[in-house]
């Protein structure tokens, strides 16, 4: 099969029936994998890693803080792509997946902010600091809230999908702008990227990074959070499709009856 026919085969999943059939087959396996990696990563991280010599046991917040922050941005990125697909190819599953991902992303942002505050209190001596990373996450949270509120406010589903998609596109541009703006505005307490750098794991890159003792369980729990996100999005999209169908059936009933 050439690449283009493979890519064309991908669009078959835009058919709600096909999407439901496939996700129903995949979901049990996905839930199982999620449970194994998530529980494995968290248990390994919480009970089988040493306390940090300076941070004590608070270092273990990392196993929730970093994965949730990672997914908070990934979820928005996914919504950006699905919104584009909806605007260009008008596949309903795409719009519904975008709608399904928003609350998960918002919760992940909130978890990252809350665990960050709990971690920041003993380490930096403050619950909240107007640090660029913290501020950009607060702005991201506002974007999620606005996006979800707009979905809820509009009755016609296609209009809602169109408007939220445009909002997602415009919002993405402004989210990136805000990120650079807040870095310009204040230099922060938060450390830079210190987990996913290949050179650092191999030892060639010697700037500050998370020790491998913590990094491996962290990577596992990041995978767990990621699988959890994918499973939840599949599940919630399925629910949205069924809810849409029920509405259509009820409407038909009213017309016929």
């Amino acid at each position: 099969m050439s690449i283009s026919t493979r890519l064309n085969a991908l669009w078959e999943y835009a058919n709600p029936r096909k999407f439901l059939a496939t996700t129903e087959r995949v979901l049990p396996v996905l839930w199982l994998l999620t449970a194994v990696t998530l529980i494995g990563g968290l248990v390994w991280g919480f009970f089988f890693t040493p306390d940090d010599y300076r941070q004590g046991s608070t270092v273990k917040i990392i196993y929730i803080h970093v994965p949730s922050a990672f997914l908070a941005t990934s979820a928005w990125f996914m919504m950006l792509i699905t919104s584009l697909v909806w605007l260009i190819r008008r596949h309903h599953v795409s719009a519904l997946a975008s709608r399904a991902a928003a609350p998960i992303g918002a919760v992940m942002t909130l978890i990252a902010l809350v665990t960050g505050a709990i971690w920041g209190q003993p380490m930096w001596g403050t619950w909240w600091e107007w640090d660029p990373r913290l501020t950009s996450f607060l702005v991201l949270f506002l974007f999620y809230l606005g996006y979800m509120a707009l979905w809820e406010a509009i009755e016609d589903p296609d209009t809602a999908a169109d408007l939220t998609s445009v909002l997602c596109l415009v919002g993405s541009v402004f989210a990136v702008l805000s990120r650079y703006a807040v870095y310009f505005w204040n230099q922060g307490l938060h450390q830079g990227a210190s987990v996913l750098r290949a050179g650092a794991v191999a030892g060639t890159d010697t700037t500050e990074k998370v020790s491998n003792v913590y990094a491996y369980p962290l990577l596992l729990s990041m995978a767990g959070f990621f699988l959890l996100f994918v499973a939840l999005v599949f599940y919630r999209t399925g629910t949205e499709i069924r809810a849409r169908r029920i509405k259509a059936l009820l409407a038909r009933e009213r017309v016929n009856g």
Binding site: T159, L169, F174
Partner: protein
Amino acid sequence: MIALLKRDLVLALRAGGGFGLGLAFFLIVTVLVPFSVGPQSALLGTIAPGVLWLGALLACLLSLDRLLALDWEDGTLDLLATAPLPLESVVTIKALAHWLATGLPLVLAAPVLGVLLNLPGPGFLWMVISLALGTPALSVIGTFGAALTVGLKRGGLLLSLLVLPLYVPTLIYGAEVARRGAEGMTVATPLMMLAGISAAVIALLPFASAAVLRVNLR
């Protein structure tokens, strides 16, 4: 286009809409700040650029929900959409009218209110320049928010929630220009960023606003 601009401006002036409201709100905020933070003139001078920018932003926000809603209710918007004028021009004119009725008075009032807040001498020029560059962006972004929520009843709260994060970059760079100017520092970098944001927003966002408005008028 000019007829539409004239009509919007006349409506804003005579119907007591955004024009007086935004300016009065700006005045109230700046006059009340010394009562709430205390009359120490050194402190007031330090926070003056930020307070003036925040007041201007909130004054802009206040008049946004009337920007398109009135035309939507009486059906003018449907007529405008079927007129030979492209919808992109319509929303640009609407934003321009909003700026002339709300933003420009704020820019002109800012130096006067700066005196009340003990704004340092070199800050006046930069205060006016930063507001003159930034408030058009606020109007255009606000028009996008108004276009998104135009069909909704009680869209005001949603409008503020949607527009709030979109205002963040403009506010940061604008207030930074005013602050650095007041402290006598060099303002080139934030000034260029502010001008860049305004230019990009004015050039691109009307297309998004028009697209959204078309969906809402469907």
